[in-house]
């Protein structure tokens, strides 16, 4: 795993993360806001396209489970948490930037 120091968003990441058999995805949102609805829709589309049958999405509404925001160290929403075999990847935002989501999902190499 490369360290944070040697990597910024613009640099290519080197060894590709190993791909899991089933992608476990968790989407943290705060209520039914346009952003959270958009994020969920974007995620759904993407998963259907690339991971059909190999993913699970769990949506957590922090308004209902505020303690989870603390426990899971959530600050920004929406946050998508991807459990990869070797690490946990987090993506924030409404997932409208598909390329970046794919990088996070270890489905696409950048550069």
């Amino acid at each position: 795993m490369p360290t944070a120091k040697t990597r910024t968003r613009t640099q290519p990441r080197k060894p590709a993360p190993r791909k899991p058999a089933v992608w476990k995805l968790r989407l943290y949102v705060a209520g039914q806001t346009p952003k959270s609805i958009r994020a969920f829709a974007n995620l759904k589309v993407l998963c259907e396209e690339r991971l059909k049958g190999r993913y699970q999405i769990e949506v957590i509404d922090l308004l209902e489970h505020p303690h989870m925001a603390r426990g899971d160290q959530i600050v920004a929403v929406p946050t998508l948490e991807i459990k990869l075999p070797q690490s946990v990847q987090r993506i924030i935002g409404d997932l409208s930037n598909t390329d970046r989501v794919l990088v996070g999902l270890a489905l696409q190499q950048v550069g």
Binding site: R9, V75, G93
Partner: protein
């Protein structure tokens, strides 16, 4: 509700304030931070921002019944707890009692990938949840700018932070937002001060001439007056204490009560009553003139009256002072044991002048003495400039006066220097100035003291010699010679001369008395002689009188017989006969 009211002292009609409980800060801000509004606390690394925030919450929770939430963006909770323990705060207990909620916001950048618009609702929810859990009235965000390093898109972040502050205001939470200040021309690294318009406090930790001083300044406080100076502050095992440089006005009380100096004749020099209670006394002199001894007398007298004394020994160790004073018959130890006298020995070089002042303040506040001795103030000059010492003393004197504490400051004057000029810049702060000096005459040094000034009382203008005896300090009689006051051997020889003259006079007097006696005796002897002569004469005269009377009688008798024998008219003789005889006489 009642607890809330307690914390919001209505010091200003327009702006409710929340007491911080931080020593000194509430005085500077006139009652604390703006209640229900955010305050920015900015400072460089290690300036004490986190401690400031922690103390604000702990005091709120323990003293004002206002629970608090601490959102830490940098330190972990175990670290925070440990750091707070060094200030004497038990965060674990407060958390267990639900008076405090700690949350560590940890984001590691390498986990975060931005894929579009986001907001900080996650953080909002966390804060709201924490506030709800303990019913918080106070929130600290330490340091929210850390988010800029972790989250992408500063534009969104800034907007979200502004929304957060608005939300905190809406909730009526008194909030402290700490911020890192890395450049002197900016308050915060990312300019979040523009969202906090109410109150801005800057903390500073600077090192000058190897001495570090922490300082605090209220840069802005909308809708309230506040002290604008830089105030030194201290962080120690009792938390933060800020020292107001001086009270805003000279409005302290001026008690008319007097207190004895512990030296009868010195009292006598000051209208017979001694110092004013609550006045400041400067005692200056070259080394070995007995400054400490005079101070010890005063302390001893105060302790005897059952008053508390605080003695800052800056050059000598307390034990040394006690031992030395015992040699002049003043035993301070019982007072120490009784708890009436407290010594504090600290070399100012150790912590810098501000720290000395703060420590002095703290000790005075906790011990509540009626007499304070600082012996000597001149050592302070070693660690600071004259200006700073003067400003420190101004503040100290001010503080002591508001507390109506009588204070003695001793000041060591350099030998050979002009005694009165050296102290001129602090002497104006003092009410009474005693000058101790050695007078060098005839190959010896003798101690003398005089009252250079003493505001508001009559005082002697004489220079008085004194000696340190086993029985304490003793002021001697004044002997004036042709060159001023006589001291030491000169005084003794003068005393001798006066004694000799006295003896002579006495002898003369006695001689005259004797002469008088002698004269009286002569007089009496003469009187006796005269009387004897007189008596002799008297006897003779009496005798001759009675003889002549006898003669007369016999003559008459003879005539009668003659008449009778001539048968003459006796009656005519009887009647007339004696008259011509008497007339003849």
């Amino acid at each position: 509700m009642t607890q809330q009211k307690k914390a919001r002292r209505p010091s200003s009609k327009t702006l409710p304030k929340a007491l911080t409980g931080i020593q000194g800060l509430d005085e500077i801000t006139g009652g604390g931070l703006p209640s229900g509004r955010p305050t920015l606390v900015s400072g460089g690394a290690g300036a004490g921002k986190t401690m400031f925030g922690l103390e604000f919450l702990v005091r709120g929770a323990t003293q004002y019944g206002e629970p608090g939430v601490f959102m830490s963006f940098e330190e972990t909770i175990p670290d925070l707890t440990k750091n707070a323990a060094s200030l004497g705060f038990d965060l674990g207990r407060l958390v267990a009692e639900k008076k405090l909620f700690l949350d560590h916001v940890a984001i590691s950048r390498h986990e975060i990938e931005e894929t579009g618009e986001y907001d900080l609702d996650g953080l909002f929810i966390r804060i709201a949840d924490a506030v709800k859990r303990v019913g918080a009235r106070r929130v600290v965000l330490d340091t929210i700018e850390a988010l800029f390093g972790e989250l992408p898109n500063p534009g969104i972040l800034r907007a979200e932070i502004r929304r957060l502050f608005d939300w905190l205001k809406q909730q009526g939470l008194t909030t402290i937002i700490t911020a890192e200040r890395d450049r002197p021309d900016k308050l915060t690294r990312h300019g979040i001060e523009e969202f906090v318009s109410d109150c801005v406090i800057v903390l500073d930790h600077r090192i000058r001439e190897e001495i570090s001083t922490r300082r605090l300044r209220v840069v802005k406080y909308r809708g309230s007056t506040h002290g604008t100076n830089e105030y030194p502050f201290l962080i120690d095992e009792h938390g933060i204490s800020v020292l107001p440089i001086s009270s805003l006005g000279l409005d302290h009380a001026a008690p008319a009560a007097r207190m004895s100096t512990g030296i009868d004749r010195l009292d006598g020099m000051m209208g017979g009553k001694g110092f004013y209670r609550g006045s400041s006394i400067l005692m200056s002199g070259t080394s070995g003139t007995g400054k400490t001894s005079v101070a010890a007398h005063f302390v001893d007298a105060a302790c005897r009256r059952g008053e508390r004394c605080l003695y800052f020994a800056i050059e000598e160790s307390p034990r040394q002072v006690v031992r030395n004073m015992r040699s002049i018959g003043i035993d301070l130890e019982p007072w120490v044991r009784k708890g009436l006298l407290q010594f504090h020995a600290a070399r100012p070089t150790y912590g810098g002048i501000e720290e000395v002042l703060l420590l002095t303040h703290k000790h005075i506040s906790s011990f509540q003495p009626s007499v304070v001795v600082v012996d000597p103030i001149t050592t302070l000059l070693m660690v600071s400039t004259l200006n700073e010492v003067r400003s420190m003393l101004t503040r100290l004197v001010d503080f002591l006066k508001t507390q109506e504490i009588t204070a003695i400051f001793t000041s060591l004057t350099a030998a050979g220097g002009d005694l009165e000029a050296n102290e001129a810049d602090v002497s104006s702060l003092m009410d009474t100035w005693l000058l101790l000096k050695t007078i060098e005459v005839g190959g010896e040094r003798n101690r003398a003291l005089y009252v250079l000034k003493s505001r508001g009382m009559e005082h002697s203008n004489q220079i008085r010699e004194f000696v340190l005896t086993n029985d304490g300090l003793r002021l001697l009689d004044v002997y004036l010679g042709p060159e001023g006051v006589l001291t030491g051997a000169a005084r003794m020889s003068q005393e001798g001369r006066e004694k000799a003259a006295g003896t002579f006079r006495r002898q003369q007097l006695e001689g005259r008395g004797r002469e008088l006696d002698r004269k009286r005796q002569i007089f009496e002897a003469r009187m006796t002689m005269l009387r004897a002569e007189f008596e002799v004469e008297e006897e003779i005269i009496q005798q001759s009188i009675s003889e002549s009377k006898l003669l007369d009688a016999e003559l008459l008798q003879d005539r009668g017989q003659m008449v009778r024998s001539r048968e003459a008219d006796t009656s005519a003789y009887k009647k007339v006969g004696s008259a011509p005889a008497a007339r003849e006489r």
